[in-house]
Every structure is written in structure tokens, then in C-alpha cells.
Subunit: 234 residues, 2 copies
DNA sequence: CGTATTTTTGACTTGACTCAAAGCAGGTGG
DNA sequence: CCACCTGCTTTGAGTCAAGTCAAAAATACG
């Protein structure tokens, strides 16, 4: 989800839902000993039902997480960039509740659960960071629940593009020019839309001059208009 | 959300999304010192923007939590019964992110945040219980995200009724005969439906002989058929 | 270079929304 | 005790945003 390094920073940060990862990756180098793991595009980081051994911090690349029901219904639950923590949703369970796949070649830091818990017991600051990270995840997902539930298709897509832009910017990339690593189907699943609807929404945004789209490549042309769009009822 | 004590327990427990509160209320009597607080129906437990001082455990009654955007869009994020923990989603923030209102006369245990954090730092078991509770909340909300996103109206309503039944059963009440404490509008907001659609879904379920509805009073007549309904794609 | 995957566009259908109105319970005050 | 609110629920009729189905276009890949 990046590829284009930024020089031009965009307007002011906005109350769009950012993944506010709170859990600073510094922990992985200090208090905690994480083991590196490389994943090729399309490879699973973990699958639902696999025994839960560790949590993961994205270091390079992009991971999508998803949840499926026994009868085949499925939804993407998130797209995760550098610094994001995965697997916290399965703590206290014997196995993973959902799936996680690499959307591009990625590098992950794996933190054995026992180590994490022991570290938290030893170091109150790490403990606080962990709690804050889970709390932030709860807030972030609720925010998406609100957006997905109350906004029409076009504004949902706009919200996602702005969110990705902000998160990439926080990582030192351009907020206005980036390459999507996920398919239209993935986006649709996340936003609760059909892939055709995602395409049409992007086409409309382009026709209005708000963005430029060419397959996976996105350029945000008028970010203030985009932000005005999503902050508006109807 | 109760009123009817149960003698007849229903069939086997099912993998419907239960609030698996993990955080045993025993902590509030032992390690932690909670102060009691009574709330009349309709009163707020907290409002968005209020300074965050404590987390809350429902002891008696029913609380609805919700999240609103600046431009007036709003969604109910959950209905909370005895033993459920509220406020964990705002840890690490200076103020509450959402609202919480009593749906009936309720009693709440308030746990001052500083006490909770200090207790967790002192007692690894409490620490683990807290982490497990937040993890369970993440799982639970994702499960609802899946159901709300992939099921048609009628099946969403059925899922909610089964979920409430299971949770009430876990508290010693009837799983098949209970009184809703929330309005159709609340249910609709939670399930991402209009209140009229909720009504129509309930009517259909009644016409099929699966439930009996009369305003707020619900009787589940054929719980296995209901469960079969929600576990089926289309 | 052919095959598979993803994206785009069009035409048609539909489940849920919107608007409107009537029915029902509960509470209040005369 | 009844009449009158007021808020909640139910039902109906018409509309629309998004879904479905189908096919072509563009790109990636072995």
C-alpha cells in the first residue's frame, strides 16, 4: 500500500478514523524479542482455527484480516500497515478467530504470546501500551461500523481513501498519491458493498474531479472536497 | 431486559455471538473497590466528550451504548446486561468516545480507572482478565459486523433475539421468553435497519410460527428453526 | 502469446427505505 | 374514572440505492 514517497504533505489532520496504533513498534526491539517473518503476496499469516501462539506487528507491506462464518459468509475486517498489531482479538482463545493474508510481499514481527504477557506483567508501561492499543482498535472498528452503516456507497469509498491517505502520511508516504494493494472485492467486503459498486463509486468521484483512478493507482485531487463530502449527511 | 425467570432451559448452547464477558464481576468485590451507582430509565451513564474517570460494570438492568458523528449520524453499538463491562473503548483517551444510557432502572458498579490500572499492575490475573475481556469485545463486535453486513433483515433480527436469549439464559433467566427493554428504533440502529423494517421482520417471523411478539414481549417458539435460519446463506 | 484475474460498464431487479397514517399502551391531570 | 396526550408500534404504498447478472476491456502472468 505505498510505493510513492511523499514530499508534499496535505492539509490538516482530520478526525477520520486512523488506525492510531498506539502500540509503538519500539517495544519489539526493547522489552520484547520479536522474530522476523517474511510473507509473499497472497500467503496467509494465520488462518482461522490455527492454534494461537503469537501476535504480529506489520513491519513492511500490507495485510488484510477477515472473518468468515461456517456457512461461507465472509467480511474483510481491516487493512493493516506498518506498525499495526494483529491477533489481539484472539487473546484468551485457544485459536485464531479469523484469517490474515499478505496483500503484497511483507515482513512481520512475531511476538510469542507468553513473552508478551510476561513482559506486560513485568513492565507497567508496556502493559499500558497494550491496553491502549486494544482500546484504540475498539474505537477504530466502531468508527467504521458507524461510517459503513450510515454513509452511502460513494462516501464510504471516499472515507476509505482518506483514511488510507492519512495512515500512509503518518508513515512518511504521500497522503494523496498511492497504490491500493487490495482488490475491489476486498474493498467492497470491508465497506459492505459489491465490487461493482466500489468501481462505480470511484468512477463517480473521478468524474467529479475529486480523485484520479487508474486501476490500483489513486491520486487525491481535492482532499478538502472529499473531506467535506464524508462529513455531510446524505 | 428480563422479568421472566426461567425453569425451562433450551437446547444446546450455540456459536451465536454471546457477550462472553470474561471479566468476572468477582473482581469488583475482591481486588477492586467499586462504588455503586443507580440510574433511572433514560438516564445517561456517560456522554461523549465527558472526561473519562472510570469504567463500569452493569449489575442490574440494561444499558445501551451508542456512537455519534459530528454531523448527526448515530448508531447503537451494543446492549449491555449484568456483568458486561463498559468504557473500555475509551482507555487512553481523555474523554468518552460515545454515549451510554440506561434502558430501564439500573444499578452500575463504577471502577475508577486509576484503581483498575493499579490493580492490573499489581495482580497479573486481573491483568489477564482485563485483556481477555477487551479481546472478547473485539471478537464480539466483529461477529456482529459480519452478521449485520451479510444477513438480510429478517435474519439479523432473528440473530439478535437468539443472542439476547442466550445471554439472559447465562444470567439465569429464560432464553425463550423475555421482554425487550429497547425500542424498535434502537434495535434498528444496532442492526443497521429502519425501525419499520425491524417491525416487519418480527411480523414475518411470527407469521412463520417461529416467535410470538406482542410489542416488547418476545417468546421464542421454535428456537432450532430460528437457529437454522440464521446459519443459512440466503 | 494465450490464459486467468481484475476492472469496468450496462441493463435489469429487488430488499430495504421513505413517507404517511392508523392503532395502542401508558401516563397525567382534570 | 375518563379524556387526552405522547411516544411507540404496526401496516400500507411507492421509490430508490445498491445488488445481480452479463459481457467486454484491460492487465498480469506463466
Amino acid at each position: 500500500m505505498h510505493a510513492i514517497r511523499s514530499t508534499a504533505a496535505t492539509a490538516a489532520p482530520l478526525p477520520i478514523c486512523t488506525h492510531a496504533s498506539a502500540f509503538n513498534a519500539d517495544w519489539v526491539q526493547g522489552e520484547l524479542r520479536g522474530t522476523r517473518r517474511k510473507l509473499a503476496a497472497g500467503q496467509p499469516l494465520y488462518r482461522a482455527g490455527q492454534p494461537l501462539r503469537a501476535v504480529y506487528v506489520v513491519h513492511v507491506g500490507c495485510i488484510k484480516s477477515s472473518l468468515a462464518s461456517s456457512d461461507g459468509r465472509e467480511r474483510v475486517t481491516g487493512f493493516h500497515l506498518r506498525g499495526d498489531l494483529l491477533g489481539l482479538d484472539s487473546i484468551g482463545m485457544p485459536m485464531h478467530a479469523g484469517d490474515a493474508f499478505a496483500l503484497e510481499d511483507s515482513e512481520i514481527w512475531e511476538i510469542v504470546l507468553a513473552d508478551l504477557m510476561a513482559g506486560a506483567a513485568r513492565n507497567p508501561e508496556l502493559q499500558a501500551a497494550l491496553t491502549a492499543s486494544m482500546s484504540a482498535q475498539l474505537r477504530c472498528e466502531r468508527q467504521w461500523m458507524l461510517s459503513v452503516g450510515t454513509l452511502p456507497a460513494e462516501q464510504r469509498v471516499a472515507t476509505l481513501l482518506l483514511d488510507l491517505g492519512l495512515r500512509l502520511q503518518a508513515l512518511g508516504f504521500s497522503a494523496t498519491h498511492f497504490v491500493l494493494r487490495m482488490t475491489r472485492a476486498d474493498i467492497g467486503s470491508f465497506l459492505n458493498l459489491q465490487l461493482e459498486t466500489v468501481t462505480r463509486a470511484m468512477t463517480t468521484l473521478r468524474e467529479r474531479g475529486l480523485i484520479d483512478v487508474s486501476r490500483r493507482e489513486i491520486r487525491i485531487l481535492d482532499s478538502s472536497a472529499l473531506r467535506a463530502l464524508v462529513g455531510t449527511t446524505h
